[in-house]
């Protein structure tokens, strides 16, 4: 029997797969934003992890100072953080479009350091508590595991947002403009479409996705200035594996790698922090454009 061979009961395996899927939801949301930004702006947004963290902090601040709960935060935090993203794009990032990737990466890396440092000064590093909304507390006994309702909601919310984004980009007129602008901004501009504004809004949207993931994460992990610091390289690896700029690739890879990481936690727990990088190295050497990449 296969399960005997692996030394694990099928129940436990299903449980781990489900947990992997939950973690994958975060990877998918984050890598989707990163991929969209890279696709259109050609910028490697290293601030993404910090913006995810800002989303979580925004939720905490809304609750703490304005008494606005989780559901408000889920809508407001992405908008607020998205607007800060738009400001950053206009003031700073837009100056780098004609330069090498490296500069965008270094600039956004610097911005991430600043954001994390400022919040660490203000709030310390122990983490601030954020409770699961009462509507989603408790859980379901699935037989093979006890699934907290909130974690189930995370998967659903992430899937909905990812698919909606994919649909918007690949199937609507707006998305068509976007994709066209990626290929040939000058030509699209000639058709009377305001390309710079589209770019700005895209950056804001990508950042808003990160903030959305941050709000989703707030009740699960403590709200902590460093929560996105190490995540960013993992998510970045996800994007690279999926194929830089590929929308569907980043979503599928996000969920897929979450599951693979979950399985690693069972069979070689110490290795769960490195498995994604091993996969990234292999993929890049064998299939340089990533699993779903369009460009060679």
């Amino acid at each position: 029997m296969l399960f005997d061979l692996l030394g694990i009961t099928p129940q436990a395996l299903f449980g781990q797969l489900l947990l992997g899927l939950i973690n994958g939801s975060f990877y998918a949301l984050l890598s989707l934003g990163l991929a969209i930004i890279f696709g259109l702006l050609n910028i490697i947004n290293f601030t993404h992890g910090a913006q995810y963290m800002l989303g979580a902090f925004c939720a905490w601040l809304l609750l703490h100072y304005f008494g606005l709960g989780y559901w408000w935060a889920l809508i407001l935090a992405p908008i607020i953080v998205g607007i800060t993203g738009i400001i950053i794009e206009r003031l700073l990032v837009s100056r780098l479009y004609h330069l090498d990737h490296l500069y965008g990466l270094l600039l956004t890396f610097g911005l991430a350091l600043i954001m994390q440092g400022l919040l660490r000064n203000e709030f310390g590093i122990s983490g601030l508590p954020y409770n699961i909304p009462s509507e989603l507390s408790g859980g379901q006994n699935l037989g093979f595991m006890f699934l907290p309702n909130y974690r189930g909601w995370v998967v659903v919310a992430s899937l909905i947002v990812c698919l909606a984004t994919w649909y918007m980009i690949e199937r609507t007129r707006l998305g068509a403009y976007l994709r066209a602008a990626t290929e040939n901004p000058t030509l699209v501009g000639a058709f009377g479409i305001n390309v710079p504004r589209m770019i700005t809004l895209t950056y804001g949207f990508g950042v808003a996705l990160a903030a959305f993931a941050g709000v989703l994460a707030a009740p699960i992990y403590s709200v902590n200035p460093n929560m996105g610091a190490d995540l960013i390289i993992v998510v970045f690896a996800v994007v690279v594996i999926g194929g830089m700029g590929s929308i569907l690739g980043s979503i599928l890879t996000g969920f897929g790698l979450g599951i693979i990481e979950g399985l690693t936690r069972v069979f070689y727990p110490e290795g769960s922090s490195v498995v994604i990088f091993v996969i990234m190295a292999i993929v890049l050497l064998v299939k340089p454009a990533g699993l779903f990449g369009r460009r060679a």
Partner: protein
């Protein structure tokens, strides 16, 4: 802001002590700990406050001893810690280094102190190697260690029927040591260890490991980790209904600040070992109130208490020896019995181990608690004689 307040407070305290014209001995104490990371709340600025309180209570100035306290952030990294310690001894004429949480950093400072012949008063670090294979004639390990934690919590859990264990272990030296020490205690008391899983450090998502612990069917899930890792493990265990389903959690290293961060709703029922709690007796309450006032309302952790106790005893030894020369002071510290309001009477063994009672606490439920910081009820006092690793078991070269 915080920083400014700290600097001005530091300037003030040094200014207060400076004008002792009759001073014969001037001592410089360096408080080296985590001021920005995961252990900043349980050590950090609080340890500086505690050290300053020790200087006040000793009334150093009147006794002709000028004391200056400086502090630095080692970011929980051994390389940063060893850099600062080296510079302090070489350049800044620091005589004694206090606190130093994080085992790896403490081991690094232990080495430098031995080489430079300073004095090292450990409060925050856990590893029992500091009085074992790595023991040094210049190091005193005051507050607690992995052996004592394992002995306290491990034995207590087995005695109340928690005889099968599964460990969630932080994958670094401290976690491994804690797991090994606890396993030995469990097996010595007739329990079994059914498995363990090592999680990356620091970790965020423990659900997968907790599920493995659940599947193991062990009665007790031992958390051989610390700080944020412990907080997240406990939180997620509650989320996944693991405690409700009947498995007990044993936090092997839990500080009161962790319980504060978790909230009683989540932390209730947790059994833990500490060497100090602010609400133990009138002395600890009085001291803790003073501490709280200086620390913006926070109650002291056992690490803060340990810094106070060790600095106080050090100053007494300097006075008695009439010199700050390290060999003489260390000899005096080990010769004199210790006595302070927080740990009571005790002694320092030849291997540098400070001996005092340990306490087994259970975290109160929200109904039992009278308010913030009223968190523990005392289950058991582990008398000093049984609380620590026997001298001959430590492989300390100083013990012959």
């Amino acid at each position: 802001m915080k920083k400014l307040k700290f600097l001005s407070a530091l300037a003030l305290s040094t200014a207060l002590m400076a004008p002792a014209a009759v001073a014969e001995i001037s001592v410089k104490i360096g408080v080296l700990n985590d001021r920005s990371g995961v252990y900043a709340d349980l050590s950090g600025e609080g340890s500086v406050i505690a050290a300053r309180m020790a200087v006040e209570d000793f009334d150093a100035e009147a006794k002709g001893i000028t004391v200056e306290i400086i502090s630095a952030d080692h970011q929980n990294k051994p390389d940063v810690a060893s850099n600062i310690a080296r510079q302090w001894y070489d350049e800044d004429d620091v005589d004694v280094i206090a606190d130093v949480p994080t085992s790896s950093a403490a081991l690094a400072v232990n080495d430098i102190t031995r080489e430079k012949q300073g004095v090292f008063l450990v409060s925050g670090a856990a590893t029992s190697d500091l009085t074992g294979s790595a023991c040094s004639p210049y190091t005193v390990h005051w507050t607690y260690d992995t052996w004592a934690l394992a002995n306290g919590t491990g034995r207590a859990m087995v005695e109340v029927g928690g005889d099968s264990w599964f460990f969630l272990t932080a994958d670094y030296a401290f976690g491994h040591a804690l797991e090994a020490d606890t396993s030995a205690v469990i097996e010595a008391n007739g329990g079994t260890v059914v498995g363990s899983v090592r999680h990356p450090f620091p970790g965020q998502d423990f659900s997968s490991f907790l599920l493995q612990a659940q599947a193991s069917g062990a009665k007790v899930i031992g958390l051989a980790n610390a700080g944020g890792d412990t907080i997240n493990s406990v939180k997620q265990a509650a989320e996944f209904g693991i405690t409700q389903a009947g498995q007990a959690l044993a936090g092997l290293l839990v500080f009161i600040t962790d319980v504060h961060a978790l909230g009683l709703e989540t932390a209730q029922g947790l059994v833990l070992t500490e060497s100090f709690y602010w609400d133990l007796n009138d002395d600890t309450r009085a001291w803790s109130d003073r501490f709280s006032e200086a620390a913006g309302g926070q109650k002291p952790t056992m690490v803060h208490a340990g810094v106070y106790g060790s600095v106080l005893h050090y100053l007494k030894a300097v006075e008695a020896a009439g010199t700050k020369e390290s060999d003489a002071v260390m000899a005096m510290m080990k010769e004199m019995p210790t006595d302070d309001p927080l740990f009571g009477q005790g002694e320092i063994r030849v291997d540098g181990r400070k001996i005092h009672d340990m306490y087994l606490f259970e975290v109160k439920s929200p109904d039992e608690s009278a308010g913030p910081w009223d968190y523990y009820k005392l289950l058991n006092t582990i008398p000093a004689a049984n609380a620590w690793r026997p001298l001959e078991d430590g492989n300390c070269p100083l013990v012959q």
